[in-house]
């Protein structure tokens, strides 16, 4: 079966920045692939290359078997793109936006109108269809943006950070919309900075950093790679952190300390049992704590595990990202 997406040794350099450094990625049809990585990892550059918006310096790229470097115009016939910045005309209604893009996809006026009705319904925007987009909320705007890429019949839908900057409620709504598409059989490549987003939507996750793939697999496989649950202790006093770390060292391997946030944490193989042990041990030592919790590894910690170095700068690695 022809891969829906096949990239081999893709490179792209902007001045001194190596955005893509020999990226290899093959995606089979019928899968939702999430491209996960920190800011500047090369996610957007890769999506732009697939969308034929930029030309890689070297490497090969095939979309649905079409050579994207030799035949970009044909690639545009099989893709849909929804951007990080919702590029929707604000002075037009949602429906007008959809009809316009439908016409551009090559539909007749009648077909474009029918497609608009279908997409508004799919995106749960029927009630707002005839309002100007400038009156939409952030979440509605993202949904109409996503909808616009669906007025045609994309074989591969490219979603560049679809939920970045959205409030939790809108994120969940957008996830639902994306899941409906997945159920309907659209192949999707999405980029995200959020582990949980990739986890919820994707069948395959590809982690990239500095323009290359550093790990890939199903969410379950990656979680094993990423390591165990974390026990995190929020100390009342920074002076007590070494003592806390010492206790945590008896629970799991290689405890870490973050002085600015007064936190110490350690990976634990059997989360809930170890949590109880940690609480008892801290209590016995008479160490006062603000809070103790059990959580999944953050993206930063996944990076730390996979690459042995922090995901972004030393600064941000000190602060656990809210995953």
């Amino acid at each position: 079966m022809t891969p829906i997406l096949e990239a081999r040794g893709l490179t792209k350099r902007y001045g001194k920045t190596q955005a893509l450094a020999g990226l290899d990625l093959v995606a089979s049809p019928g899968r939702v692939v999430a491209l996960l990585g920190p800011n500047g990892a090369g996610k957007t550059t890769f999506v732009r290359a697939v969308a034929t918006l930029l030309r890689p310096d070297a490497g090969t790229l095939h979309v649905d078997g079409i050579d994207a470097l030799r035949n970009p115009a044909r690639v545009r016939q099989v893709i849909g793109l929804a951007g990080q910045f919702a590029a929707v005309e604000e002075a037009m209604t949602g429906r007008e936006n959809l009809v316009m893009v439908g016409r551009l996809f090559g539909l007749s006026r009648k077909q474009a109108k029918a497609a608009a009705v279908r997409v508004l319904d799919l995106m749960q925007l029927t009630g707002a269809g005839d309002r100007l987009v400038r009156t939409y909320s952030g979440g509605m705007r993202r949904r109409i943006d996503l909808g616009i890429s669906l007025v045609g019949t994309p074989r591969l839908l490219l979603l560049d950070e679809p939920t970045t900057g959205l409030d939790p409620g809108s994120r969940i709504q957008l996830w639902d919309a994306i899941r409906n598409l997945v159920a309907a059989g659209t192949d999707i490549l999405l980029t995200t900075q959020y582990l949980d987003e990739a986890d919820r939507l994707a069948s395959d996750i590809v982690i990239i950093d500095h323009g290359t793939v550093i790990a890939s697999g199903t969410p379950a496989e990656l979680k094993t790679l990423a390591g165990d649950d974390m026990i995190e202790v929020h100390a009342r006093d920074a002076d007590q952190l070494p003592a806390v770390a010492k206790v945590l060292g008896t629970i799991g391997h290689d405890p870490r300390i973050e002085v600015p946030t007064r936190r110490a944490y350690v990976p634990a193989d059997d989360g809930s049992t170890r949590l109880m042990e940690a609480m008892r041990a801290l209590d016995q030592q008479g160490i006062a704590i603000e809070d103790i919790s059990l959580r999944r590894p953050t993206l930063d910690e996944v990076f730390l595990t996979l690459t042995g170095k922090p995901a972004q700068t030393t600064d941000s690695a000190e602060q656990p990202a809210n995953v």
Partner: protein
């Protein structure tokens, strides 16, 4: 076309989107711009009042100090120039509009669609022509209000108006190019100010003969001057005799040559800049 369309993106194999041709895509993209103009009253209000203010300023504040040829009144001299140069003021908005579309990702969306890429530019140019015609029409009405009277034939007057539209199309490409080079709306706006000297160092508001050497040479040899002169000689008819060194036909030829040159050179530059990725 019907068979390339499936009612849902579902199905094991979605059909290929045929994509629109250059004509339909230009019209659709122009349609978006026109709706944007119509639904952003500030834009139209700004262009219109700016033009009216300039007219009032030159007609009533500076006009008395500017000497024109013989018995020709300043208002009759200036209004055709004012109308012709209003294409430039209308174009300034195009540069910022183009830069904004590039900056905010709207152009990316269009470029990812199965349409001829140049239609993003032709659609824009088409729509901006509507704005140019609007500016020309309001400028003409203002001109008559402040006392201008057509002394040539009505046909010549209409021909002069038509010429302005054609010249507007040429300058439109300059503003599109500036917008593409600008990167951001603010940058494009400042960059498009390079077009302003063309307006004032032309025969639009004052006779170029009154300018000092150097400035005068620039004024005589830049595109707007023959355009203004062509429009003016048509609008003034016999009253303009003696004002011009050449016949209407001469100015018409020179100005249309400029128009063709600008369209080809700047249009190609814009297309080249746009296609680069």
């Amino acid at each position: 076309m019907t068979d390339t369309y499936a009612i849902s993106p579902a199905g094991p194999r979605a059909a290929v989107n045929s994509g629109a041709g250059i004509w339909i895509s230009s019209i659709e993209i122009a349609g978006r711009m026109i709706r944007k103009f119509a639904r952003t009253p500030q834009l139209i209000f700004f262009t219109t009042t700016q033009s009216a203010l300039f007219l009032l300023m030159f007609r009533f504040a500076f006009g008395g100090a500017i000497k024109t040829h013989g018995s020709l009144s300043y208002v009759d001299f200036m209004v055709p120039g004012f109308i012709a140069s209003s294409i430039m003021w209308a174009g300034l908005g195009a540069a910022t509009g183009v830069a904004e579309d590039v900056d905010h990702g709207f152009v990316d969306r269009l470029r990812s669609l199965p349409i001829p890429r140049v239609s993003v530019l032709t659609g824009r140019a088409l729509a901006d022509m509507v704005l140019v015609v609007w500016s020309l029409a309001t400028a003409t009405v203002f001109g008559f209000i402040v006392g201008f009277r057509l002394t040539g034939s009505v046909t010549d007057g209409l021909a002069a108006f038509g010429l302005c539209v054609v010249f507007g199309f040429a300058f439109e490409w300059c503003f599109i190019l500036i917008g593409l080079l600008g990167g951001s709306a603010q940058a494009a706006q400042s960059m498009s100010l390079v077009m302003v000297p063309l307006i004032f160092l032309s025969s639009a508001y004052v006779p170029v003969q009154s300018m000092p050497q150097g400035v005068r040479q620039f004024g005589e040899n830049q595109p707007l001057t023959p355009m203004v002169d062509a429009v003016r000689s048509l609008a003034l008819g016999p009253q303009g005799h003696g004002l011009f060194a050449h016949s209407s036909g001469y100015y018409l030829g020179v100005s249309l040559a400029w128009t063709a040159g600008i369209c080809v050179v700047i249009g190609l530059l814009a297309a080249w800049r746009f296609a680069r990725r």
